[in-house]
Symmetry: C3
Subunit: 326 residues, 3 copies
């Protein structure tokens, strides 16, 4: 679709240099990440879990928005690759003293960072950073760890990895993504990953108030009833309902949400007998998912977490082996 | 008293797998921890302080209650053993987003943790975690770093280690524990450690309002007057008076507490001439202890801190060498 | 001026044992730090940036005042030297429970620290710590990372390093330091460094309300007009205007400050054609410095950050190789 030079994630050789979004990533790049992750799954099972691929490299975790869990998985991934990891308490830092985002980035670049892992409440912030470093410090890699309501590409990739692990082949699958699609960067990244990998039927399931427009153009089938959404599905991805939605005007109440969109064993029975249930965490038990399902045999929710470390190791090692931008 | 299978800290071979409480620990297990700590005291004096016993292992510090000092000593201990240590800012994490304790533990388990060091304001929280991991992830070790008013086993062990260092033999000692016994997890762990190790006279000294019932059944002599408590003692363990007690209804005032239960040089003179004074820190100078005593020749308070690192290295290395639970 | 025994930074052999202030440091010591930093600049350009000079040593970052940036540069420096670095969340620690500063230091000493990097809001706090450790734990090194309005010696050293890099020789230079000299520990450290290194003309430039008395006695020329201050200068060091000054009674407004003391391209043109512009960061663009200057060809502001890591590596390695105090 876009030429290499126009894709801000790829260098002039078409190699992945930043990971900003799954939107626009060639299928071959995604597949290489998934197969590289395979090799790191085995590392984690060894007595010593560390490999020296990033020895001497400095990875800076820049979490402008708190997320202990995602930050920790990136820290584990980078340290298993033997990188030096620096966690910046960026919320209490110069940014709070009124320094601009790019001045902060310039300073950290001058500290000889090799990669930035960025979580930011504003959609597009990692793009702004990558565009800036590509011009001024072309050896630096930027990994988007979630930006606003835009993208969470490593979550999309680990979801794709998990599905491939259990279902082997994407070409016959029906995947239902259920919940607050409108505000979900996870949903957006999942849709791009799955449609690029050739999943023939991706369904977005939720109340009309929480469904964005334009889904059909992305190749997604819209369902406003949960029963329609899960019927015959191979994979059900439940999204976390943010607590601010429960108090908001878009939804009547958490209890009513559960009655209509909570995944129960009875509803799960409408899916394929070997269907798997996924969730990006943290779960709201009794809101979007019933505990019997969350802890049941169809649930692969904790396996997602384990796979997430291998996928993040894959992303960090692949970008680190790419040539400089431009 | 309890069979191995009933003791949640021991595996089926009777090896220490978790450290949750000194209550119920066989004397041989305690003695093995103390003698293992001996070997690490020497490590700390070497030019390079690190040994590779836990290389490739991931130790997660889960401090649901802040304690920079205890967290740091565990971090030092684990890093001296070459473990990868992850400090989770758990207070600002998913737990705060309403996730249950066991869902948090499940997620960290899925990140391939090898050990959890847990501080929690609720008594019993480390037991809940250990019972859960023993069932679902039997290779994981849980170390209690202080739970509510229940137990602080590594403090009890380092106190026992310190006493053994200075007094060589437990079998002739009189040990006075002075202060707010009622609310003190340190006192409880000290009492279990010292009675198990054969100290013939353990005294609990404090105002009636701060003494729990049932001390006599634990083999402890109760004294409500400080002079009676310290007279002839070999060891005096002063407890920190929590500031909330000073404001509370259980005590008239900090000044009156000091007048009745503060350890001064004059009162210390009632103890044996070679008596040692201990304190778990941080001290309230002028409340439970006079500065002349805190900084005097009888004080071994800072030595306790140094020994605490060796004792925590011993605990981490011993549990790590045990077989999986069940 | 002062004999070695009277200088709290030097041991009896005249070696640098603590770094507390540039005031009183012999020129030879400063020059050794700068030349040692040279050797670390090359390290940073290697594929693997770490050297084993501090392997097995424990460096404790004690930031009683938040500064993510300075803390991170010290952490990078110490880890590049292979030290074990412990970041203490000292603001949330025992200090907050009412423990005295020296009791905190005693405890960390008992944890077998080898060096303390101290940032404190109170002028003199690192001296108090160094005097204490020199007596009780003479192997420990104290590095001042900024104390109140007193000193920020590593900033002074990195500024001197930067100037030497671009200008080669100090003996013919005119250096203008512009802004809130009165409250600036950076200005004080810069003045001591530059006069000791033989800079013939150091100018302090700012409004009378922000200039301390006694500058002339330090060999500094006072200018209350920016044009006079920058005319013919080889080096211009702009200071950050603290936001509390902008709201305060010492200054009318940020806009008026910029009009009188903000460095613009037009004013920079009054300096030597090859003048360099420096700033300790974080910058207030449009307050003390115009963006065209901050991002222009004369600016070496980001290079200062890079050099700062090499200078901090030099300080840590030099103090670590000194003999014990006394």
């Amino acid at each position: 679709m876009s030429s290499h030079s126009a894709n801000p994630q790829l260098n002039s050789k078409g190699e992945l240099h930043h990971l900003l979004s799954i939107d626009g990533l060639p299928r071959g790049v995604i597949e290489r990440i998934l197969s590289t992750a395979d090799s790191f799954i085995n590392v984690a099972e060894r007595e010593v879990k560390n490999v020296p691929l990033l020895r001497g490299k400095s990875v800076f975790n820049l979490f402008f928005e708190n997320s202990t869990r995602t930050r920790t998985t990136f820290e584990i991934a980078a340290r298993r690759l033997s990188a030096d990891v620096f966690n910046l308490d960026i919320v209490r830092s110069s940014a709070a003293k009124g320094e601009s985002l790019l001045d902060t980035i310039n300073n950290l670049t001058a500290m000889q960072a090799d990669a930035f892992v960025v979580r930011h409440a504003t959609s597009g912030a990692p793009y702004l950073i990558a565009r800036h470093t590509s011009r001024h410090a072309p050896h630096i890699h930027v990994i988007n760890a979630g930006d606003g309501q835009h993208a969470h590409p490593t979550q999309g990739l680990l979801d794709a990895y998990t599905i491939r692990h259990y279902k082997k082949d994407f070409s016959n699958l029906t995947v239902a993504i259920v919940g607050d699609i409108l505000h979900s960067r996870v949903a957006r990244s999942d849709i791009h990953a799955l449609t690029t990998l050739g999943v023939p039927e991706v369904r977005a399931v939720g109340p009309l108030t929480l469904l964005p427009t334009g889904l059909e153009q992305m190749g997604v089938r819209v369902c406003t009833k949960l029963d329609d959404g899960v019927r015959g599905a191979d994979v059900i991805i439940m999204l976390r309902l943010q607590s601010e939605r429960m108090r908001g005007t878009l939804l009547p109440s958490a209890a009513e949400y559960f009655a209509n969109y909570g995944l129960t064993a009875k509803r799960l029975a409408l899916a394929k007998p070997d269907a798997i249930v996924m969730h990006p965490g943290p779960m709201n038990r009794g809101v979007e998912i019933d505990s019997h399902v969350a802890d049941g045999t169809a649930s692969v929710i904790l396996t997602q977490v384990t796979f997430g470390i291998a996928v993040r190791m894959a992303v960090l090692s692949i970008v680190s082996s790419s040539a400089s931008m431009q």
